[in-house]
Symmetry: C2
């Protein structure tokens, strides 16, 4: 089995260890001390914060194994080495420690400094998931930006809805079936085709009424107006 | 079994008929002709567009049954009658005809012009789902506004992500596991606690980089900036 040291203590490190256990010879390493890095490890996965990648990589620069980070936003070249291979091993998922994930569904985006590195990292990711794709640093950044829209911003809209309903004595949990169906629908049809709602219908009466209801919440009102305008521009009016 | 005529030909009418079949004596009625409205129906459900509610209700005003609409945004008083009961029977879900829904998960929000009407409509909704709640027109409008944030706006962010990735030759379907997990997470923990991403971390380097990447897409750039600022204000910086 391939010897892989996972450098990190966060959610990504936790889940990569979980996903590779039994399929590779995996060891976890504390990124502060770097105690226990195995000299003969073929791959060091840096599952640390974006900001820590260059410094942790620098302390491991003389290691003979491939050094790969797991960041969506960080260039391959953030790992500086005199010699030895570098790569990226980016799992496109949001990770929480307390959650059981189906790792075989996670897409992995791979970049290597040489074709041989790319091939090696692809083989390792393929131990976890059948969805392994090559992606250069620019493509990976675009995937990360799209995941900010699709995950972080979406979750924030739910935060705003939760707060708005709580203030009215209503229960955000009553929206769970709607949220579940909204997320299920996007896998069955394109989100463009699935769009519904007042802005999609160019229903200015409802939009104006909602803006009026939000007059004491300028931040939410601004978000409502911005997204409604964008929906209106994206979907031509049906006459 | 209670005789219920469902006036409408859209997705809500289709699914209400499906959900009530076998539990009530249900008939579908075309809202244009109103042919086949049964004189002895105890309930007429107006599953028509918001704009059509007053006019369809006016043509049925002399009917002896309760007339209830299914709209989140429309006041109970949109149904004008000289005598006879009026109500609202609002299922909080997004409906597509081609989709099998678990009706027992859908919350119903009920309003009646009298306590007896509310009780009757509650009993009918309880044939479909255990989640039946009273809600006045103001509460129902707030639920509808929250569902615009949680469903329509969320779907639009996915539309923008889909378009952005397509233009880069990347595949939006690679985000499905992330979207699925994001939606699953909101049922396990509050969206406030679940928030992640560059804006949550106050990671200005990544935010600036993303804004730079979007410099040729002013609309998406504006949405990115607006939502990132809102996340930053909602979540104080961790120092």
């Amino acid at each position: 089995m391939t010897k892989i040291d996972i450098i990190g203590r966060g959610n990504v490190a936790f889940h990569l260890e979980n996903a590779l256990r039994g399929k590779a010879d995996v060891a976890m390493v504390n990124p502060r001390t770097l105690e226990g890095v195995r000299e003969d490890a073929e791959l060091l996965i840096l599952a640390v914060s974006d900001a820590a990648i260059p410094s942790v990589a620098a302390r491991l620069a003389n290691h003979k194994g491939i050094i790969a980070h797991t960041s969506g936003t960080t260039d391959l070249r953030a790992i500086h080495r005199e010699s030895g291979s570098t790569g990226v091993f980016y799992p496109l998922q949001t990770f929480s420690k307390d959650v059981v994930l189906n790792y075989s569904e996670i897409p992995f985006f791979i970049e290597g400094d040489t074709p041989a590195t790319t091939e090696f990292l692809t083989a390792i990711a393929s131990l976890i998931s059948p969805k392994v794709r090559p992606a250069d640093s620019i493509q990976r950044r675009k995937l990360h930006l799209a995941s900010v829209l699709s995950c972080n911003f979406v979750n924030h809209l739910w935060t705003l809805a939760d707060r708005y309903l709580s203030e009215a004595g209503l229960d955000f949990a009553d929206l769970f079936p709607l949220i579940r169906e909204t997320a299920a629908k996007v896998e069955r049809t394109s989100p463009f085709a699935a769009q519904t709602g007042p802005a999609r219908r160019h229903d200015q009466v409802t939009i104006r009424h909602h803006l009026e209801m939000l007059k004491d919440s300028p931040e939410l009102r601004n978000i409502y107006a911005t997204l409604s305008e964008s929906i209106g521009r994206t979907h031509p009016e049906i006459k």
